[in-house]
């Protein structure tokens, strides 16, 4: 019996010595925390950025004729239209640059978004980004012989963006925003502080419904706070967003100055405008 055990030990010595020694050298890589799928809700920014080196091209329309214009004018789609194009770039995984142009006041704008804080939490993950932007109205719309003082055609704004995603389905964002020189048609420089908020519910991998509002907390505002409601379709590298809003402005600077008609009004005030956005991530 003693010899058998010795034999067995001897038999297994080489096996013990020669079993593989490999061990995983590094932990499995954790992908970046991403909550919303798109870099913007409608007009308001999400905390998302692009991967370094990725581009984004976007085109957005908001029809100035209201939906209430009826079938004769195809619910406003006959136009005219506020048109915006933008080109985004991921400078790093956390810094997103975005250059845009809107035909409203022929405005150029440039924004930088920085993803600053990621809090990984099973039930309430949080992303915080900061966005700073500058806009230049190259062909301002002036009323009643208004003359612009030097520098009035420049606008500046800053946004803090806080996002979360509940149960992988419901994205919620708030965007406190400060705008300097909110609206060109104010006789003097006026500033605005708004508290944007949006929620997006992801129905499945492709479709989501999205609401957005941007109430003015203090400072100058057009007649009404802004509201936008619609849905989004996501396929491959594209987002297609369709919505109605009481604000015809599309980019942050102009959207921040408020809406010209009520969202749930009647008569002249019931001026919801149809719009769509298409963005392509390259």
């Amino acid at each position: 019996m003693k010899y058998i055990s010795t034999f067995v030990i001897a038999l297994f010595i080489p096996t013990l010595l020669l079993s593989q020694s490999w061990q995983r050298k590094s932990e499995v890589v954790e992908p970046p925390l991403q909550l919303f799928h798109s870099t913007y809700a409608y007009a308001l920014p999400t905390a998302e950025t692009l991967k370094q080196g990725d581009y984004l091209y976007g085109i957005s329309h908001r029809f100035t004729l209201p939906v209430s214009s009826g079938f004769e004018q195809l619910f406003g789609i006959d136009g005219p239209v506020i048109n915006m194009m933008n080109l985004g770039y991921g400078l790093t995984d956390d810094i997103f640059l975005n250059l845009g142009r809107s035909n409203r006041e022929s405005q150029w704008w440039f924004e930088t978004k920085y993803k600053a804080i990621e809090i990984r939490n099973e039930s309430l993950p949080i992303l915080v980004s900061f966005l700073g932007g500058v806009a230049y109205s190259s062909r301002p719309t002036l009323v009643g012989g208004q003359e612009l003082e030097s520098g009035r055609d420049w606008h500046f704004y800053g946004v803090a963006i806080i996002n979360t995603l509940i149960s992988d389905k419901l994205g919620i964002g708030i965007t406190p925003t400060f705008s300097y020189n909110s609206h060109l048609q104010c006789p003097e420089v006026e500033n605005s502080v708004t508290l944007g908020a949006y929620a997006e519910y992801y129905l499945d991998d492709m479709y989501s419904i999205l609401i957005e509002t941007n109430p003015t907390i203090t400072g100058w505002r057009n007649k009404y706070d802004s509201y936008t409601v619609g849905f989004s379709m996501e396929t491959g590298g594209h987002f297609f967003k369709f919505s109605v809003s009481n604000n015809t402005a599309i980019n942050i600077q102009q959207f921040n100055s408020g809406a010209q008609s009520a969202f749930l009004g009647s008569g002249e005030n019931n001026n919801l405008h149809f719009g769509f956005q298409i963005t392509r991530n390259l």
């Binding site: 038999l11 096996t15 020669l18 079993s19």
Partner: protein
């Protein structure tokens, strides 16, 4: 005394085992794992260098060599951040199944020349938490203590309960080509 003689005798009998050497993936080399999809609108590739694993077998003869390789799917880059995210979250579910693995034994080894062997391995290929038996053929080039492995094979997504992705609403080919080109280095115990 007799005990030592027995141990010595058995060790002598099993001395062929001492010819076994372990090679591990050499992370310092340019390792490439490519996932190639043939899509109707545009083909795309996912690339990563995050392959790890080992081969354990006799030097000079690959037959009987054990092998294990794994690829971290979170690192696969399709050159588009949004597509990477779709791939991770919607199709591969890498939060649950971050690794694809192949555990196998080489059952056939053909020497082409002094440095080049063509081998066939049979084992379990696992992705998306679903394992399937798979025979994979590979070319192995032997340079001193380095193995250079090249292989390509097809993985049918539906075999592993992976939903076939769509691009621009059109489904891609469910058969995805995998091409691997990587290096292993002998481990000195």
């Amino acid at each position: 005394m007799r005990k030592f003689i027995i141990i010595g005798f058995v060790l002598l009998l099993t001395s062929s085992s001492y010819a076994k050497v372990e090679h591990q993936v050499d992370k310092s080399k340019k390792n490439v794992v490519k996932f190639i999809s043939d899509a109707p609108v545009e083909d795309f590739e996912g690339i990563t260098s995050s392959i790890d694993g080992y081969m354990l077998g006799e030097k000079g003869d690959f037959k009987g060599t054990e092998l294990y390789f794994e690829v971290d799917l979170n690192t696969v880059d399709t050159d588009n951040g949004l597509r990477n995210r779709h791939m991770r979250e919607n199709y591969l579910h890498t939060d649950k199944y971050p690794l694809t693995t192949y555990t196998a034994n080489i059952f056939e080894s053909k020497k082409i020349d002094d440095k080049h062997y063509v081998v066939k391995a049979k084992g379990k290929f696992q992705v998306h938490g679903v394992s399937k038996e798979k025979i994979i053929e590979a070319d192995i080039y032997v340079y001193d203590n380095i193995y250079h492995v090249k292989t390509k094979f097809v993985v049918t997504l539906t075999d592993h309960k992976i939903e076939v992705p769509s691009l621009m609403l059109v489904k891609i080919d469910p058969d995805m080509d995998l091409r691997l080109d990587f290096f292993l280095k002998e481990v000195t115990q």
